[in-house]
Symmetry: C2
Subunit: 305 residues, 2 copies
């Protein structure tokens, strides 16, 4: 399962009740943070997630509202006792940005590991047990969307295990994919597991225009978190010129990609009530929800799969 917490939902500047857009993703106690604007750590403090567990920080791009909270968060992670390395991911320019911001970090007791990802083509990498894909998107500066996939092994077949005379203590280890050698025999997972089942997909796309590549990247997501800088469809020209989406464009993206659920985020500070434009947005994609700070869910494998 994947824990998801939308730490902030604001664009441009942090507001008292709407901090800057940032997403925490946790799998079995290890966490990835996507974007880290000013006050992200304040929102994190209000959750039951610990800053110590953050092993990876992914950036969509380097506009201030997506990275200004980095030095403060790193210092708080240091004060919280983290000593394991922290991996940083983003388009080229990452190291320059981080080294600029951390000029005020007197000492960090962990290594910063830089992973500069292509701003031109999709890239795959692994973090916290998830298979990540970055997808270059159209914004005013190089920018990435991210999609994470948690694979799911095949269903365990107890009848087959019995027929093969496999001792009971090995069943769960085989189910976990382990090859076991014991008592002169070799037990292999593929002998007792069915075909790989559908896993879980979580996608995050902010500060971007829709594109065919983005649709493919987020296809079949269980949850897509996407920006809706403006709710008002009249703002579409503005959104286009600034490299952003209005609600309806995010909804069409969700529909085209066949996702299960859409959370909107990165709201303009001028938009007082992000729910105002939901009805017409749901006419395009019914499972659209307005994000809010610390909106949280757990994505689980379906029982019947």
């Amino acid at each position: 399962m994947i824990d998801v917490c939308l730490l902030g939902t604001g664009g441009m500047l942090p507001l008292p009740k709407r901090y800057l857009t940032s997403l925490l993703v946790r799998v079995e106690g290890q966490a990835v943070l996507i974007d880290c604007g000013e006050a992200t750590q304040v929102s994190l403090h209000m959750t039951n997630f610990s800053p110590v567990d953050i092993g990876h920080i992914l950036f969509t791009h380097y506009h201030g509202d997506h990275c200004s909270g980095l030095p403060g968060l790193l210092m708080t992670m240091a004060n919280s006792g983290r000593t394991d390395p922290v991996h940083l991911w983003g388009v080229p320019g990452l190291e320059k940005m981080v080294k600029g911001l951390t000029v005020i970090c007197e000492y960090l007791p962990f290594q910063l590991v830089f992973h500069e990802i292509s701003a031109k083509e999709k890239t795959s990498f692994q973090a916290i047990g998830l298979d990540w894909t970055s997808c270059p998107v159209k914004h005013r500066v190089p920018c990435l969307a991210y999609s994470a996939y948690l694979p799911r092994g095949g269903r365990f077949d107890p009848a087959r295990a019995k027929a093969l005379d496999i001792p009971l203590p090995y069943w769960s280890r085989l189910q976990g994919g382990e090859v076991i050698e014991a008592e002169g025999r070799v037990y292999r997972p593929e002998n007792v597991l069915g075909p790989e089942r559908r896993g879980l997909r979580l996608s995050y796309a902010t500060d971007c225009r829709p594109s065919a590549a983005l649709v493919e990247t987020v296809r079949d997501s269980d949850l897509l978190i996407a920006e809706g800088l403006y709710g008002d469809p009249a703002k579409q020209a503005d959104a286009k010129s600034k490299g952003h989406m209005v609600y309806k464009e995010a909804a069409k993206l969700a529909k085209d990609a066949g996702v299960k659920e859409l959370w909107l985020t990165h709201f303009s500070p001028a938009m007082m009530n992000p729910k105002e434009f939901l009805p017409e947005t749901r006419a395009i994609f019914p499972e659209t929800h307005a994000g809010f700070d610390r909106k949280t869910t757990t994505l689980r494998f379906s029982e019947d799969a």
Copy 2:
């Protein structure tokens, strides 16, 4: 008069209800900000002060909790329409710190003017009509306390003005210190004003140990805002080793300097209730108050002076 707003009162890390220590000082619509940790702009947003009016930002030192909010604030000032220069003040290293942090500021429509102040001796400068003094203080890194003085001219003597046959329309201009030439005569303020009266003094000392130089700098302040990282006197050894003060030390500083009122700030995140240790602190200096985010006052010339 001087408007004073303690935007935050936390040390080390911003908490949901206690942002990092920062002070806004405003005189006739122009503002100075002292220190700018992460989320300072969020607290500012909750006040009736505008980010556009901030013409000067003073730093005590460059530990992250005193400057991590700078890039976000500058971007918000830019988005709010400021185009006038912004003056930055602090010990040597200022420009390096600011240039590091502003790596994420794509474009600022105003000039940043750097004023590096001695970390070894007192310095005087002017900003927003106040006479400022910086005083090097003992901390783990070079650090400054600041004291601001608003001078007050002499009392206008109407009987003397009448006796000198000065036309009524010139009275207020003379009171304001203007020399007026009119109808072949010269009218001088010193002819109708008494001796200069006591002005107003506001002082700010955080992240420091007490010292004789600091006592002299903040002497006779109408309001001293000083750090009390710890309330518990048992923490004094900790405070000393880290270059901080416990409440009682701040109270003794206030008493020794003969200030009128003391506000404590820069509380340890571990201290849940900053008011807990006030009774024993007031035994040393009765006019001690625990700061809280957006504690606000206006210092006014006394009516009877």
